[in-house]
């Protein structure tokens, strides 16, 4: 068999299209020469994108060539042959019966209800763990993540200024009473603020007994002075 000369590799898609239209063309194609040429080109010009487009086309051409050599004269597969005269008579009767059934069924209206609750299937070789995993309501639930929203603490300078303003406004302030109902971190901040004000001689602090109440008064005698 005389084989056709190798086509330029850039015409790979053209060749494929021609084989698709005329499969017998694949049989006459010198596919090994074509494969060597394009493979050499892929090695020399490492354009991976172009190669990725050409390789499947080249593979398809080789496949068609092989198919053409192995099964050159395979007849086209034939579909099943049917003969309408072989249709049984009962088929129309069956269709008619079904249509009647449907008509009768449509005469009744059912109520749209919720599906029946199905009892859980029995558990094989039950153990407490298997049982608890078999019944969703008993499954151990993961502990919810505790979410806390915390207020950003004010800087000590703010506490100092607020405490000073309060002492100035009221004339006398019992520190323990001013802490009632406030969160514990604020106790520390207020106490430190009071110590700072006392050190700075901006307030006077009096504590009658150890651990007793601390009374704060303005160092300059208060608003009335």
């Amino acid at each position: 068999m005389s084989e056709r000369p190798v086509a330029p590799p850039e015409e790979l898609k053209v060749i494929a299209e021609r084989i698709r239209r005329h499969p017998e063309f694949a049989r006459e194609l010198n596919v090994s020469a074509l494969a060597q040429e394009v493979a050499g080109r892929w090695r020399e010009h490492s354009d991976m994108l172009q190669a990725s487009e050409e390789i499947p086309v080249a593979a398809w051409i080789v496949k068609k060539k092989v198919e053409g050599l192995i099964r050159p004269d395979d007849p086209e597969p034939e579909g099943p042959t049917f003969d309408l005269s072989l249709r049984p008579e009962w088929l129309e009767d069956a269709v008619s019966e079904l249509r009647n059934l449907e008509d009768r069924a449509l005469m009744r209206w059912g109520r749209v209800g919720e599906p029946l609750p199905r009892p859980p299937a029995p558990v094989k070789d039950p153990s407490p763990w298997k049982l608890s995993w078999s019944y969703p309501t008993l499954r151990p639930k993961p502990a919810p993540i505790e979410r806390r929203i915390a207020r950003e603490p004010e800087p000590l300078s703010v506490h100092i200024e607020m405490l000073y303003q309060t002492v100035q406004g009221e004339g006398q302030l019992r520190l323990q009473q001013s802490l009632m109902g406030r969160p514990r971190p604020e106790w520390v901040a207020r106490f430190l603020a009071a110590v700072h004000l006392w050190h700075a001689r901006r307030v006077q602090a009096e504590q009658g007994v150890p651990f007793g109440p601390i009374d704060l008064t303005p160092a300059d005698g208060g608003p009335g002075s």
Binding site: P88, W90, A94, V95, E102, W109, E114
Partner: protein
Amino acid sequence: MNHLDMLEALLFVHGDPVSEDQLALWLDVASEAVGAYVEALNQNLHVRGSGLTVQWVEGGVRLTTHPRLYDNLAERVSRRAPEPLSHAAWEVLAIVAYRQPITRLEIEAIRQTGSERALDTLLNRDLIEEVGRKEAPGRPILYGTTPRFLREFGLKSPGDLPPLSASGELSSSSETVE
């Protein structure tokens, strides 16, 4: 507890067909006795001229409207009609219903035409389903009807299909395709 009242209430609550076994459990009676209670309830509804009636369908019992009210109901309440089936789909459905379980090739041999699309339609409509594989070369899929088919056609089981003419039965027995 009056069993008939309870049976009526249970069927009212559950729109879907309720199996005999389930009713027996709920009514605390033997399964064999359920049929009698259902029949008694049907008579009871009939005697008092109720607009409801009992229907055995899909292997269970359900309450439905009485067929005599169909025209009046249809005038007042719209019901979404199912998409009509093509003649090919009707033929395939009839073959599957009367000859189940059956393979696609056997269906096509009876109809003498391809039936793939009709089968797809019926599968999508949940009127037929795969019920197994035939022990034959290629292990082809066997098709059968679904519970939805029973409900839509008001049948308790596939065995309740109306019998075909004698000629149909005879011809069907000689055309089995392997």
